[in-house]
């Protein structure tokens, strides 16, 4: 049996999983803090806007969002598989297309800043 080409989708998934594990809890906490009007110093709208305006900032944000989207898409594909939904090609296509569309949208919005 030939070796699988799964690493193509698995590597970004693993990278995204790591990014999610490190960044998402922080983002959730910051989101709550912002909601109750207690934004930590250095994370005000103006400062974050300035961060997203720079080339490096755009790259970091794109990396975090695109990898997280890809990881979530792949995880959802695996979850569907675990639940016995065996239309894997269809599910994979739908989810990966959603992740790619989301990534392109992220790039477009970031470039507009």
């Amino acid at each position: 049996m030939a070796k699988s080409n799964k690493p193509v989708v698995w590597f970004p998934f693993a990278a995204g999983g790591t990014v999610i594990a490190f960044c998402m809890p922080v983002i959730v906490v910051l989101g709550f803090l912002a909601a109750v009007g207690r934004v930590p110093p250095g994370l005000s709208y103006e400062q974050l806007h300035a961060f997203a305006s720079g080339g490096l900032g755009k790259l970091v944000l794109f990396g975090v969002i695109a990898l997280s989207l890809w990881s979530s898409a792949h995880r959802l594909r695996c979850t569907c598989y675990d639940f016995g939904l065996r239309a894997d090609t269809l599910i994979a296509t739908l989810l990966y297309v959603a992740a790619i569309v989301g990534s392109i949208a992220t790039a477009v919005f970031l470039l507009r800043i």
């Binding site: 049996m1 070796k3 699988s4 080409n5 799964k6 690493p7 695996c78 598989y81 675990d82 016995g84």
Partner: protein, 249 residues
């Protein structure tokens, strides 16, 4: 010395006799057991004093041989390691899921044995004349794979794995973990041969990291971690083979 506490234990045991039954059915047994006993002791007492026709496998009674795996209240367990005091009410005992039942609680392990053979779970050694002595290994080299060498082939991980249940071709947790164990061994040179089986769609890539294998493993092998490490190894191999100049596909 205070006498051991006794208790009436009720067990619903799945029975199946291929010579007379068309379908498996539950049979209720009631047996007086010591509070300190395990489910296997209860089954032994049933066989000795109530029903000698009851069939099940066991050998060591100390979680080493790996032969008494069965479903206890729906969970894959070693019956010699499942204490009666941890269960209330009627205890449901069934053969390991995902394996064909031969008789009562006895399942056929042939599929697992065939998969075990495929991953070559032995040292494929460096050729060295015997006069040069043994292959030495440092404690650090041993620690790399020691945990993965503790597998007792009890197949609880196969019964717990939903992927194996849905896709019987999947090589499965224990066999892949043993492949990883020999890949990590400093005396071994068989990684390339094993990856031909491990890195296929039926190999490690069928795993979706549910993690149930590690939860049920009585030897704390943590097969799920071995499989994730194999995915990293397989991915790096893929990059070398497909993207680097000079890499062979």
């Amino acid at each position: 010395m205070t006498p051991l506490k006794e208790r009436l234990v009720q067990l619903d045991v799945l029975r199946y006799n291929p010579d007379t039954d068309t379908e498996a059915h539950f049979q209720r047994y009631e047996v007086i057991c010591h509070e300190e006993w395990v489910v296997l002791d209860a089954l032994n007492k049933i066989k000795e004093s109530i029903d000698p026709t009851l069939n099940y496998r066991w050998s060591c009674h100390m979680a080493v041989c790996g032969s008494c795996g069965m479903m206890i209240n729906g969970e894959p367990k070693l019956s010699c390691h499942s204490f009666l005091r941890d269960y209330e009410g009627v205890i449901r005992v069934e053969p390991l899921t995902h394996f064909p039942v031969e008789r009562d609680l006895v399942t056929a392990p042939d599929d697992f044995m065939e998969k075990l053979k495929r991953v070559k779970p032995y040292v494929i050694g460096k050729k060295k004349p015997i006069e040069e002595g043994e292959h030495k290994q440092t404690p650090a080299q041993l620690m790399k794979f020691r945990q993965y060498s503790m597998c007792i082939n009890c197949m609880l991980c196969y019964a717990a794995c939903p992927e194996y249940g849905l896709t019987p071709h999947f090589v499965g947790p224990a066999a892949l973990t043993l492949a990883h164990r020999y890949n990590l061994d400093s005396r071994d040179e068989g990684r390339k041969e094993r990856m031909e089986v491990v890195a296929t769609a039926e190999g490690v890539w069928e795993c979706t990291f549910v993690g149930a294998c590690s939860e049920v493993c009585p030897a704390h092998v943590d097969p799920a971690s071995a499989l994730q490490q194999l995915k990293i190894v397989g991915s790096i191999d893929w990059i070398v083979e497909h993207l680097l100049p000079g890499g062979k596909p």
